[in-house]
């Protein structure tokens, strides 16, 4: 919990420095998520303080949306179709710059926080963060592929949206929980905190954290990719060694 306390302290210290009408101070409980050999996921806390002139607090209060976006990459979405009795991957669409992880956390449903056009403009929500398919193979734009992509990633826990993961501790002070699953991809994650009031954006902050492999995992993965030939030879030699050791252990004479 010391990280959390530190974040609070940081927020409290920084807060008075921002003198704008409605300013936002935010902090993450960590900016580095190491993947150890027992990694099964991680919870990261986001803290925020909304600073405002005395008495200028909106009477409806504020709404907060925390958007987390993992490293982006190209993906191919394939659809199975039947050929005679068999089901094969036949049709495919390519997408580029698809976030490998999306988490949209808010204090109440997004529809109640801002209008669809506003959210679309600010790229808030899972759908606005997914670019349209790339125009290769002159394939018709089929919304089913995009929906399939969203559905699969959601099932894996990689795309997530929740209207009750941001909690106001007191007026102007909020906390959010980012849940990273065990299969969270490695890389840099952007965290965008947006504060709304009466359906309009009043403040925005950018944060970020990195998911990295540590020690043995990192070493293995790096060796496999950078010195792949040596890695292959070493793995094969290790296999021979294990087999040889086994025959020593179980030798029956």
């Amino acid at each position: 919990m010391s990280a959390i306390r530190k974040a609070f302290l940081l927020a409290a210290l920084l807060a008075p420095l921002e003198a704008a009408a409605q300013s936002l101070v935010t902090a993450l409980s960590t900016d580095r998520v190491p993947i150890l050999s027992n990694f099964t996921g991680e919870r990261i806390a986001v803290f925020g303080v909304i600073q405002t002139d005395a008495g200028a607090r909106p009477k409806d209060g504020w709404d907060v949306v925390v958007s987390v976006r993992g490293p982006r990459g190209a993906v191919t979405v394939r659809r199975k179709d039947n050929v005679g009795p068999m089901w094969l991957n036949l049709d495919a669409r390519n997408y580029i710059a698809i976030p490998s992880f999306i988490s949209i956390l808010s204090n109440r449903p997004l529809e109640l926080i801002a209008q669809a056009e506003v959210r679309e403009d600010l790229r808030i929500g899972i759908d606005p963060l997914i670019p349209p398919q790339t125009a290769v193979r002159s394939a018709a734009n089929d919304p089913q592929f995009r929906a399939g992509l969203q559905r699969l990633r959601s099932q894996q826990g990689l795309f997530f949206q929740s209207p009750d993961h941001v909690r106001f501790i007191s007026p102007g002070v909020f906390q959010a929980q980012i849940d990273l699953p065990g299969i969270a991809p490695l890389g840099n994650y952007d965290v965008e905190v947006a504060v709304f009031s009466g359906g309009a954006l009043v403040a925005k902050n950018q944060l970020g954290f990195t998911v990295i492999k540590t020690a043995a995992e990192q070493w293995v993965a790096e060796a496999a990719h950078k010195n792949s030939l040596l890695y292959g030879i070493a793995t094969a030699m290790l296999a021979v060694l294990v087999g040889w050791l086994a025959s020593l252990i179980f030798r029956r004479d």
Partner: protein, 308 residues
């Protein structure tokens, strides 16, 4: 206890993998086969990406072949000359197999190719082994001899050129069918994550009439080197060999194999082959069922490139 696999990039239950390695090791020790054809589908079934499952079979099969080879070597059960000829074909096949594997992966048909190939290969081999053992069982009930060597009958492949004499096996055959056979098995091995022992052993016995006491050791020795090559080729070209996964499978596998070998010693030959045939057919049926049942999820997502 969960452990994070660095190449598959996912956490997995360590004991599940150890247990799978042990079970397959037990079966492989019992039947004297590598067990890749059982382990690859199991790994895919628990969520390991197909590419990682296939590529990681290499070190696992190599480890269990070392143990087996040493045992047969002590009993002088290896025809090294024959093994090296088979190895030459095996290496060519493995190289081509890895190229084909990478190409199929690129166009997104790897899973389909694996499934169809498993159905065909296991279906045919399973049927042949089962039928042969049923025939042998029926024959032994009638009191006749199981397999009779037909003297004086010659097959077309016995007339091919480049003949070589293999003293240990008492063979005098053309190199062409040996190399073609081992190249085909090497190819299948690289694409499907199997050692190919379950094809090579019956082929050597029934086609080339290599004495049974030499077949298993020679096949294990040849498989050891093809799998070392497969590991290196896969690691160097598609980086899908997961060291942690391989280690877990190896450790589970070598232990299981020891107990399996003891259990196998008490089984009668015909029943033994009938069991093996049934086992192979079950795996084939499982893949066939997957191919023809309408999938619950029509879509699949493959990341092709990630910016980190």
């Amino acid at each position: 206890m969960e452990i994070y696999l660095p190449i598959a990039e996912m956490p997995i239950d360590m004991f599940l993998i150890l247990g799978m390695g042990m079970t397959v090791g037990f079966i492989s020790g019992m039947f004297g086969i590598g067990g890749g054809f059982l382990l690859t589908p199991l790994l895919i079934f628990v969520g390991i990406p197909a590419a990682v499952a296939v590529a990681t079979q290499g070190p696992q099969i190599a480890a269990s072949s070392v143990t087996g080879s040493i045992a047969y070597w002590r009993r002088k059960g290896i025809d090294f000359k024959l093994a090296f000829v088979l190895l030459a074909g095996g290496l060519v096949g493995t190289g081509l197999g890895v190229l084909f594997f990478n190409q199929m992966r690129k166009i997104g048909q790897l899973e389909t190719v694996i499934a169809i190939a498993y159905v065909l290969l296991l279906g045919i081999v399973g049927l042949l082994v089962s039928l042969e053992s049923v025939k042998a069982l029926l024959a032994s009930r009638k009191g006749g001899k199981g397999m009779r060597r037909q003297a004086g009958r010659h097959h077309w492949y016995e007339g091919l050129p480049w003949k070589m004499r293999f003293h240990r096996s008492g063979l005098y055959v053309s190199l062409i069918p040996l190399i073609v056979l081992s190249a085909l098995i090497g190819f299948a091995g690289a694409v499907l994550g199997i050692g190919g022992g379950f094809i090579l052993v019956p082929a050597l016995i029934y086609i080339f009439r290599v004495p049974p006491q030499i077949v298993v050791g020679t096949s294990l020795f040849q498989i050891l080197f093809t799998m070392i090559a497969a590991t290196i080729f896969h690691a160097a070209t598609n980086q899908s060999v997961d060291l942690f996964l391989a280690l877990l499978l190896m450790v589970g596998g070598v232990f299981g194999a020891q107990f399996g070998a003891r259990a196998g010693a008490n089984l009668r030959g015909e029943y033994f082959r009938l069991l093996l045939g049934a086992l192979i057919l079950i795996v084939a049926a499982r893949f066939a069922a997957d191919l023809v049942t309408p999938p619950r999820e029509m879509f699949s997502v493959t990341p092709t490139e990630t910016v980190r």
